[in-house]
Symmetry: C2
Amino acid sequence: MTVPARVSLVTLGVADVRRSTAFYRALGWPVSSASAEGEVTFVRTAGAVLALWSEGELAADAGASAGERSAFRGVALALNLASRDEVDEALEQMTSAGGTVVKPPVATPWGGYSGYAADPDGHLWEVAHNPGWPLGPDGLPVLP
Amino acid sequence: MTVPARVSLVTLGVADVRRSTAFYRALGWPVSSASAEGEVTFVRTAGAVLALWSEGELAADAGASAGERSAFRGVALALNLASRDEVDEALEQMTSAGGTVVKPPVATPWGGYSGYAADPDGHLWEVAHNPGWPLGPDGLPVLP
């Protein structure tokens, strides 16, 4: 057997599910009716389902200790867009929604354009345009 | 403008890109030729692209300080499968590949079956069967 190659969900541990949900809603992202108000939110995206859940409950569910959390979590999500203008606009929208630009977008050595924003809990999103990675019909990058 | 709802990539910061790549390869996951041996690996999955990159470089790219890392990162990925047997088999395969089961699978209050494994860098994967979330043709859960 091989294990199916899937990222089915990405669950972000958050301090306040309502606050976090308001942020992603403000971007226009669709919240599934499978969500439980203030307890857990599931956001439908082109790729993995994005889940927002209490960080303490996530830790407990995994049998882990939430412990002290470092500012940098060693994980970044990325949102790939079709143009530099879309990157600028998305970062503005994320700021309006209550996020923070942690790295203004710049031209990258790989020929693209990329910046980083943090959501209200410090989860990092790279917002990027990569002309070498065309987007498929579902909006996700198509890799060789 | 609304921001397209996408999780395009999930980048995991890792201590050793070769070791981490060997783990995901051992699961049978397809590595893209866009990867650079030992520097960065891109894995094609049904959802987001999974990227494996030096944790220090990821922090620097985001303008963050890698600093001290807590054992629990406040993020979990999930791999949703079609049956309980598939969950058991995937967790065995992850162990054979060098991962660690941090929570053996159990029946859950929501009628499913779920366990957690950590990859060689401690990134958490929930491995689950949720009978209430049917899998679409691409293998990803279809949410109401």
